[in-house]
């Protein structure tokens, strides 16, 4: 692999990793606060992509469509929590997980019934579909824009988490919900903020995904969601920076393994799964995670 191909793959990996990172953050934040694998999170990403598609097809300008889609996804995310998860806060864990998988299946099939299961071509505005060319490297504008946007978004998220009162409340909630309630903080509205942040990031990830692989379908969220969850576990579930790290590691691995060993291309979607198994086997806390409750043998 010569230098220019290497650089090209590096940028591709950063772009793919950005999407995984954005989606992984939602998993890790909800898990950190509620100890729940939010199976519906991958589908929120699909909702984001579809809302953008429809807003654009109703002649909205692309930027307005994106804003609308992010807002819509936030509403869906918060409603999911209010309707399905909140009544079950004190129920056995398995009920919560079954409800989560029910929501996920509901969203997939609802969009399937409403809009059909056939993949739709996603048309990005012209300035995003251009291809840049320098020093013999050709790359779409998106693979450069996506990582830059992601860094900006992540910086603002970290600012919210570590420099604002709401962020402090979220971090406190991850430690101990009853105590936080005793401090006079409305835990439910903070949980809503967590879902809103996660859903917004998932929608952005979904739009990035739709722009880079210009095709969307109602089931697109499943496999990407699964990979993003694996990335979150790899980075250490509960840790936002860990999720970002895990997302980028997964993105680079997928791109570089396929570039170096093209015969493994068919297994690309399986890498995340093997990462997940390896992490659980050798370092269940992930790269940045705090100690998990370990099961004794």
């Amino acid at each position: 692999m010569d230098l220019s191909t290497f650089l090209q793959q590096l940028v591709n990996g950063a772009s793919l990793g950005s999407m995984y990172a954005l989606i992984a953050i939602g998993y890790t934040m909800v898990y950190g606060v509620l100890r729940l694998i939010n199976f519906a999170h991958g589908d929120i990403m699909m909702v984001g992509a579809f809302l953008t598609y429809f807003a654009v097809s109703f002649k909205f300008p692309f930027e307005a469509a994106v804003a609308l889609a992010i807002f819509g996804s936030i509403v869906v995310g918060i409603l999911t929590d209010k309707i399905a998860y909140k009544p079950l806060r004190n129920a056995p864990k398995i009920s919560l997980l079954i409800t989560a998988i029910g929501i996920s299946f509901f969203l997939e099939n609802l969009f399937n019934v409403l809009f059909g299961g056939v993949p739709r071509a996603f048309s990005a505005p012209e300035y995003l579909s251009k291809v840049m060319h320098f020093n013999g490297i050709y790359m779409p504008v998106t693979v450069v824009i996506i990582p830059i946007m992601t860094v900006i978004i992540l910086a603002s998220l970290l600012w919210i988490l570590y420099r604002t009162k709401y962020g402090m409340a979220i971090r406190a909630l991850a430690f101990d919900i009853p105590t936080v309630k005793l401090m006079g903080i409305n835990a439910d509205s903070i949980i809503s903020i967590v879902f809103a942040l996660g859903s917004a990031l998932a929608a952005i990830g979904g739009i990035f995904y739709a722009v880079s692989y210009p095709s969307i379908d109602p089931l697109m969220g499943i496999i990407v969601g699964l990979k993003a969850f694996a990335a979150a576990v790899l980075g250490g579930i509960g840790s936002v920076t860990g999720a970002v790290l895990g997302g980028f590691i997964l993105g680079f691995t997928e791109i570089f393994v396929v570039a170096l060993f093209p015969e493994l291309g068919g297994y690309k979607d399986a890498f995340a799964f093997f990462f997940l198994i390896l992490v659980l086997l050798f370092r269940p806390t992930g790269i940045m995670g705090e100690d998990l409750e370990r099961s004794r043998f």
Binding site: R35, L36, I37, F39, A84, P87, L88, A91, P92, K93, I94, S95, L97, I98, T99, I101, G102, I103, F105, F106, N109, L110, N112, V113, G117, I222, I223, L226, F229, A230, V233, G266, Y267, D269, A270, A272, F273, L276, I277, L280, L281, P284, L292, E293, R294, S295, R296, F297
Partner: protein, 342 residues
Amino acid sequence: MKGTVFKTIAILSTLLFIYLCDRFLDSYTLSIMNNIGIFAILALSYNLINGVTGQFSLEPNGFVAIGAYVTALFLIPADIKSDMFALVDPAETVLAMHAPFLPAIVAGGIASMFIALLLSFPVFRVRGDYLAIVTLGFGFIIRIFAINNPAYTNGAMGLNDIPDNADFLWIGSIALITFVVMLHIVYSRYGRAMKAVRDDEDAAIAMGIDTFKIKTTAFATSAFFEGLGGGLLASFLTTISPDQFTFMLTFQLLIIIVLGGLGSMSGTLLSTVLVMGSMEWLRFLDDDMVIFAMHTGAHPGMRMVVFSILLIVMMLFARRGLFGDREIMDIIGEKLGKRSGR
């Protein structure tokens, strides 16, 4: 003593019922009964890990696929295999595989159980809900493997011409065996340990229960029967392909065990009949409907929307399902006991 007599009579009369059904029912009714029988096997074993042991798992589609493929490869004669494999020639081992029906489906079960043991090691080492996500991922990975190893699975085209040995005598009897075995497990020392793990893992550990072993046993037992059910399914359908074993299958089983009551084997049996029946009955939802003189057009997937709403509503308002975590015998026994003033 009275219990043993009762059990023997119950088992014998069920066997007679299975025989009479197989003998006298028409083929359409029998195909529905076969479907119910296979789903009963799958749902009962799925309830062992989810309901009795309380470990949320999403594995059935993966293990059913393994069982179905292994059984199919054992059943199809070698010359038909070499004709069928269109993309690449079948591997030597695939051609050499041949076995009668019963060993073939048992091999399918053992293969699934082996994979379950491999998966349980990383998953049960940590506490938490990793089983759910790992098994969900596994269901997708198994499809990727089936498509990328055409020498073993004939790729995306799947396997056809599987001998249809699975009649209602086989399916019904194996469903009966599964039910009896599951009840025996539930009422055994292992079953009580599984329930202890479900209700309070810390307390179970404190009581000296080896929770890792118990969870692994439950998972492997489920996997064995799911593989067995997969083998029956392959032989019943006579054709299988990777796209058959999607998450949809798991979701149907999840609905069944939630409706029947997580942890109740008799509830699962009853709700299998209810859910499979209503799946058939609600088929009209997927078709073109006329509402206020407007055609809605065909909606494949509408049933699944209805069923996912049903699942969510049940979780929110009727979490215990039909029988909760108890068996119908116990509920009836308790009622009778109260009446006689005990």
